[in-house]
């Protein structure tokens, strides 16, 4: 068992900790060219070292508070590992009136063992408002979402910023990324009319280029530009709200340029295009990590252990007025060290 004692060496703990400091420094800013091994290796060393120490070192396993703390640390390492294997992190843009479906997800990052019930997540995006303070400082976002129950009844919820929508363990956060969309109906010369929507770039970030394009079936591309008036201003507070915004849609096609008001239409190659109304989309961040709650409890457990150890071993005075008088301390320490 000599190797096990070596594995439990407190010198190895220091080596592991210093490697972890280095790994943490490299992890700054989540740079893509830095491998996760800079964290995994030191954490694995520390985890093995700590496990060995818990079994062999009386200094740690005879002091319950200290034991609690270190077991807590070990559990945090394990939970973080589970979290990294099973998490999912993605973005999505969802328009007013649109229902959530997993195929909306963009920039998805996920652990290899992710196994959530994303297909069970259902909500429909409603309207939203965003408060802006003087100087264009973004304030509170209030985003309305409609959540169906088993009977198909909808409950309305207002979320935004740190008020998170949690469905099946998936957490949805509003972001600064949001904007307008235009709802259009395409009435082809032959066939049924179809209604769809075109999302324009993030607003007010790209208020100067609210444009996009679309190609009708069998025709050449159509360019859109939205002249939107929202009441946006720098010198005073205002509220971004699609219901109070007006948009004139500029349609360019084959060198022609037409300005459409809501419910007006224009003739294009192969059909008629109608501008139904102005709508909006909200960008969400979606995050799932089944370990979050456990991490919290385990971390608190660890800290309680450390606080208990502080209280027990070192004498129960918060402010050591006469530090020499702590005989209980020294006796415990000596006994343990002697072993």
């Amino acid at each position: 068992m000599k190797w096990f004692r070596l594995l439990a060496s407190l010198k190895l703990t220091l080596v592991g900790m210093i490697l972890l400091v280095i790994g943490a420094s490299f992890s700054y800013d989540n740079r893509l060219d830095v491998t996760m091994w800079v964290l995994v290796v030191p954490l694995a060393v520390l985890a093995l070292n700590l496990t060995a120490a818990i079994f062999t070192n009386a200094r740690i396993n005879r002091q319950p508070g200290l034991l609690m703390f270190h077991i807590g640390l070990l559990s945090i390492i394990v939970l973080v590992a589970i979290g990294r294997l099973s998490f999912i992190d993605a973005h999505l843009e969802i328009a007013e009136g649109q229902g959530f479906t997993p195929d909306l997800l963009l920039e998805t990052k996920q652990g290899p063992l992710h196994a959530g019930r994303l297909d069970k997540v259902r909500f429909v995006q409603g309207n939203y408002t965003v408060d802006y303070a003087e100087g264009m400082h973004r304030g509170l976002t209030n985003s309305q979402v409609l959540i169906p129950d088993e009977r198909g009844q909808f409950t309305t919820k207002i979320i935004g910023d740190d008020r998170v929508l949690v469905l099946e363990g998936y957490r949805f956060y509003t972001t600064f990324n949001k904007g307008f969309s235009v709802v259009l109906t395409w009435m082809p010369d032959q066939g049924m009319p179809v209604t769809g929507r075109i999302n324009l770039p993030s607003y007010p970030l790209y208020d100067y280029k609210q444009d996009n394009s679309w190609t009708p079936p069998g025709a050449s591309p159509v360019k859109f530009w939205l002249q939107v008036s929202t009441g946006m201003r720098e010198d005073a507070a205002w509220v971004l709200d699609a219901r109070n915004s007006r948009g004139v849609l500029v349609v360019s096609h084959q060198g022609q340029r037409v300005e459409l008001q809501v419910s007006e239409s224009t003739r294009l190659e192969g059909g008629q295009l109608r501008y139904d109304h102005l709508s909006s989309w909200m960008g969400y961040k979606m995050y799932y990590d089944p370990t979050l709650r456990w991490l919290f409890f385990v971390a608190i457990f660890a800290v309680i252990g450390m606080a208990w150890h502080y209280w027990q071993v070192k004498g129960a005075r918060l402010f050591p007025a006469e530090a020499q008088h702590s005989p209980s301390v020294d006796k415990t320490q000596e006994k343990i060290v002697e072993r």
Partner: protein, 284 residues
């Protein structure tokens, strides 16, 4: 200097800083006089004056913070000016309690109080202009996170006082100043005891911060400048504690480790906002 805040918080703030400055001068004279052979009762009188001045400084800074709070409509959470002022206040509160409750260690104030000068001088160079309150700061975890952070930094500062004494005692002249304090082995033990308590509060602060970050930005940890630096500091505390468990460390090195940790903590708290413009990168 910008006239903003002049009619409200600035005069209170200046008086608060002046009270701290006086407390420092009195503490230094106290230590010198007390240890030049004069009766110890005179030292006691100096100490009472230091405590009174500290309390006055705390009260004046509290008034300054309150005035500003009323003026701009939110607490001192955002700009460096606000963070420093609030930190000077809370460090003052906790240090005053420690000074009162740990009479045998009072001489270490000559190390601690100059740190207030550094922060105070820095504060004087900053503009008191109103700051914008971000949406994610409505979260109530902010209070928990900030409270814990304040206790943590104050405990580190108490540790720095003791560390400074262990280092200064290497110089024969300074040895006399700290005659009233216990021997180095005791100072060392108490200092690391305070550091362990600091680790408790640091850990809690990180937990509260992670919960807040999860709510606010959808991730509990993301290695932004502040988080990376805070983790390194937390680990440095663990390293410091473990070095002493593994090796026999002479008091002055032990003191140097404590000061190193304190520097890391303050860089995290007050330096990182320069690296990433908002307190956290994900904030705006």
């Amino acid at each position: 200097m910008n006239a903003e805040g002049f009619a409200t918080e600035l005069p209170w703030m200046w008086s608060g800083l002046a009270a701290y400055a006086l407390a420092t001068l009195v503490a230094i004279s106290g230590v010198v006089v007390q240890n030049s052979g004069a009766a110890s009762t005179r030292g006691g009188r100096f100490e009472r004056l230091v405590l009174t001045l500290l309390i006055a400084g705390v009260a004046l800074l509290a008034a300054a913070i309150a005035q500003r709070w009323v003026r701009i409509g939110h607490g001192p959470w955002i700009s460096l000016f606000e963070l420093l002022m609030s930190q000077l206040w809370s460090l003052g509160v906790i240090y005053a309690v420690a000074y009162w409750r740990m009479p045998r260690f009072r001489a270490s104030a000559v190390v601690v109080l100059p740190v207030f000068w550094v922060l105070g001088s820095w504060l004087l160079t900053l503009e008191p202009k109103a700051s914008h309150f971000p949406a994610t700061y409505y979260n109530e975890w902010k209070w928990v996170h900030v409270f814990l952070g304040k206790v943590y930094l104050a405990l580190l500062l108490i540790g720095v006082g003791l560390a400074g004494v262990m280092i200064l005692r290497r110089f024969p002249r300074a040895l006399r100043w700290f005659r009233s304090m216990p021997a180095d082995d005791v100072v060392d033990r108490v200092a690391w005891r305070v550091m362990m308590l600091a680790l408790v509060f640091d850990s809690l602060m990180l937990i509260a911060g992670a919960v807040w970050a999860q709510d606010a930005w959808g991730r509990y940890w993301s290695w932004d400048a502040l988080e990376t630096s805070a983790f390194v500091t937390w680990l440095a505390l663990g390293v410091g504690i473990h070095v002493r468990l593994t090796y026999r460390v002479p008091p002055w090195i032990s003191g140097a480790i404590i000061i190193g940790i304190f520097v890391l903590a303050f860089t995290t708290y007050l330096g990182m906002p320069y690296v990433s413009p908002a307190a956290h990168k994900g904030m705006v």
